[in-house]
Amino acid sequence: MLKYFIKRLVALVAIIIAISIGSFFMIQLLPGDLATSILGVANTPANKRELYARLGLDKGLVQQYLTWMGHVLQGDLGKSYITGESINTSIGKSLPIDLEIIFLSQIVAFACAIPLAMKAARKPNGLFDRLSNGLTFGLLSVPSFIIVVYLVLIIAIKAQIPGTGPGSFTRWPEWAWLFTDTGMFFTTVGHNLTSMVIPTLALSIGSFVVYFRVLRSDLIATLQEEFITMARSKGLSSRRIMWRHAFRPSSVALLGTAGINIGGLIAGGFVVQYLLAIPGLGGLLIASITLQDYLVIQSTVFVVAVAVIVINFTVDFITTLVDPRIARD
C-alpha cells in the first residue's frame, strides 16, 4: 500500500513538472505582441526594449522558465504584466468561488445520484428504472448553458431568488470575523448560499446524470454477483445488502468518473460562470487571454492543472480505500 503511494507521488511530481514546462512554452506559441497591448501607441522599438528588459523578457526562454519556476516554488506566481496586480491575489479571490461551486454541486449530485441509482438498480427495467434512465439520458444531451437559462428563468425570475454574484462568504481574507459574530455569520452564509443556488444546480445536473448512469449500471451488475446471493442467504435486509455489500464494489467506476468530472469543472465550469457573471477562475482566464496577459494565463493554467492532478490523486486514494485490491502489487 505504502509502496503504491510513493510510486504515485513520484509520478505526481513528474507530471506537475511536465505541465509547468508545457504551460510555459505553449504560451510562447500564442500570436500577438505583449508590447502592443501594454504600450499601445507608445510601442516604439526603444520603449519595447526598455519594457522587455524591465519584465525580464529579454532573457532566453530557458532562463525565463527557470526564473518563473523558482518563484512558483516559493509560492509566488508573479505579477500581471498589465495591471501589476499580484497573481496570487487574483487567483486567491477566484479559486475559492470555483471550489465552493464545485463542492456544493458535487454534494447535490452525489446526494441525488446514489439513492436514485440504488432505487433504479433494485428493479432493472422496472417502471422507475426506465423512467429515470430515459430522463437522465435526455438531460445528458442538454448542455449546461441551456440549463442555466432555464434555471435563471425559474429560480431567479419566477421565484425571485438572487441569481448571480459570488456572495461575500468567499472573500477569504475578511471572513475570519464571521466566526465571532453568530448573527452576522448566518446572514452572510445564507446570502452566500442563496447566490450559489443557480450555479450549483447548473453544474450538479450534469454531474448527477453521469453519476447516476455509471452507478446504476454498476449496481445492476454487482447485484447479479454470487456474493450478493450469499449475503441474502445470511438473512440480511435488502437495504443492508445494498449499502454494505453492493455499493462499495460498485463505486470504483463512479469515483473515477467523479475525478475526471471534477477536474473538468475546475476549468470547464466557466461557461456557467460567464453566463452568471461569477468572478471565478474561468473569468480570470478569459480576461487575461483577451488582454494577452501571458504570465496570468500561464500561472492560472498551471494552478488549474495542479488542482486537477491533486483531485485525481485524492480520488485514486479514496478508490484504494474502497477497493483494497487496487493498491496491491
Binding site: K123, F227, T229, M230, R232, K234, G235, R244, P249, R328
Partner: protein
C-alpha cells in the same frame, strides 16, 4: 455420517419434507422447468446427497429449497416444509427470519461468493452482529473462534484479510464459517468442492463431516461427483433433467442401482481399483434442452436400453422393494443377473480416494 446409528437415532424423517417441488423459469423462449416435481424427506442429522450432471437442476433445487431463487420470472410449485416453516410462497421478509439462523448455504465458487472488498472477519461477524444481536466486539471474538473451528491458521491475522489474499481452500473454509456462524440446523452445500483441487477437496469434505457431528446439522450435499457422496451421505438422490430418476440409501444406490443413468454416472467416475491409464467411460450425448422436453423419459435419447415406450411415456418412481429405494425406468437394470463390473457397486471404491487417514 454414513453410519447406520445416525438414522436409527433419528427416526423422524419430517425435519425437511419436500413435496412435488417445481421451479420454472419464464424465459423469452418459453417456460423452462429447471426442477420438475421433486419429493423427498430428510431427518435430523441426516445427510442427503444430490447427484447429477451439470444442468440437471441440482443447484436450482437447493436454492429453491432455501427459497433463495430469484424473485422475478420464476414460478415455484409444490411444497417445502422445513421445521414447521413453509418455504414455498413465503415472502422474502419471512424467509429472512430463517436464513442464516436455521438454514444456511455453502456456495459453489469461493472465488466469487465472498465480498471482494470486505475483510473476511467482518463477513463472518456480520450475521452474528445483525442476526444474533451480538456487540461488535463479541462478534469479532466469535468470528475468530469460527475461523479456528474451520481450521484456519493464525485466525487473528486472517480476520483482517481480504478474500483475494487467501487460497481457494481457505476461502471455502471462510465460507463454511460464514454458513455456520448462526448455528443453522440445515446446511445446503452446493458443490462445495468443485472449484478446489483434489487434496483440498478431501480436507473440506472431512471438515464438513466433522462439523456436522459437532454441531448436529442436517446436510444436503449437492455434487456431480459420486466419489464425494459415496462415503459421506446417508441417502442419495440422482437427478436428471430436473427430475429424480433414482433415490435410496447410499449403499443401495451404489450396489443395486436400477436406472441406467445412475450406472452411467458411476462408470464415468474414476476409481481406485482401476489400473492406471484406464479410459473413463463417458455418457454419450448431452443433457436435454429443458425448453423442449419430450414426452417420455428424458434420458431415453442417450440410453442404450431405451425402447419405444421410453420415448413415449415418462416412467414414474417405482419402489425396488428395498426400503426407501426408488427408481424411474421402464427397463431397469438387474444387478443380480447382469453385474456391470464387480467393483461398480461398492461405496468403498470411491471412499478410499477421499477419506483422510
Amino acid at each position: 455420517m454414513s453410519t447406520e446409528t445416525n438414522q436409527n437415532n433419528n427416526p423422524d424423517e419430517d425435519f425437511l419434507v419436500v413435496e412435488n417441488l417445481t421451479t420454472t423459469f419464464n424465459t423469452a423462449r418459453g417456460p423452462l422447468p429447471a426442477v420438475g416435481g421433486v419429493s423427498f424427506r430428510l431427518g435430523h442429522n441426516e445427510t442427503l446427497g444430490v447427484v447429477g450432471e451439470s444442468g440437471s437442476g441440482k443447484t436450482v433445487l437447493s436454492r429453491t429449497i432455501m427459497g433463495l431463487q430469484p424473485r422475478t420470472n420464476v414460478e415455484v410449485g409444490g411444497s417445502v416444509r422445513f421445521d414447521g416453516h413453509e418455504i414455498v410462497g413465503a415472502t422474502e421478509a419471512e424467509l429472512r427470519e430463517i436464513w442464516g439462523t436455521k438454514v444456511a448455504m455453502i456456495f459453489q465458487d469461493p472465488m466469487t461468493s465472498l465480498n471482494p472488498v470486505t475483510k473476511i472477519g467482518k463477513q463472518i461477524g456480520e450475521s452474528l452482529h445483525v442476526r444474533l444481536g451480538m456487540s461488535k466486539d463479541e462478534a469479532k471474538a466469535r468470528a475468530i473462534e469460527l475461523l479456528t473451528l474451520v481450521g484456519i491458521p493464525s485466525p487473528e491475522e486472517r480476520y483482517e484479510a481480504y478474500p483475494t489474499q487467501l487460497s481457494g481452500g481457505m476461502r471455502q473454509r471462510v465460507m463454511i464459517a460464514i454458513a455456520l456462524a448462526c448455528n443453522p440446523s440445515l446446511l445446503l452445500a452446493d458443490e462445495p468442492t468443485t472449484g478446489l483441487d483434489v487434496t483440498i477437496q478431501a480436507q473440506i469434505l472431512n471438515l464438513l463431516d466433522e462439523l456436522q457431528m459437532k454441531l448436529q446439522m442436517s446436510v444436503i450435499l449437492v455434487t456431480h461427483d459420486l466419489g464425494v457422496v459415496a462415503t459421506r451421505t446417508d441417502r442419495i438422490i440422482v437427478m436428471y433433467a430436473g427430475r429424480v430418476v433414482e433415490m435410496g440409501r447410499t449403499k443401495d444406490v451404489f450396489k443395486d442401482h436400477r436406472m441406467p443413468y445412475t450406472r452411467a454416472l458411476l462408470e464415468s467416475t474414476p476409481r481406485v481399483s482401476n489400473p492406471s491409464h484406464t479410459r473413463l467411460k463417458t455418457i454419450p450425448g448431452r443433457p436435454p434442452n429443458l425448453l423442449k422436453l419430450a414426452e417420455g423419459c428424458a434420458f431415453a435419447p442417450r440410453c442404450s436400453r431405451a425402447t419405444e415406450k421410453c420415448s413415449q411415456e415418462r416412467p414414474n418412481l417405482e419402489p425396488t422393494g428395498t426400503d426407501g429405494h426408488y427408481f424411474a425406468c421402464w427397463n431397469p437394470l438387474d444387478n443380480q443377473s447382469a453385474p456391470v463390473s464387480s467393483s461398480t457397486g461398492s461405496t468403498k471404491e470411491f471412499g478410499e480416494d477421499n477419506v483422510r487417514s
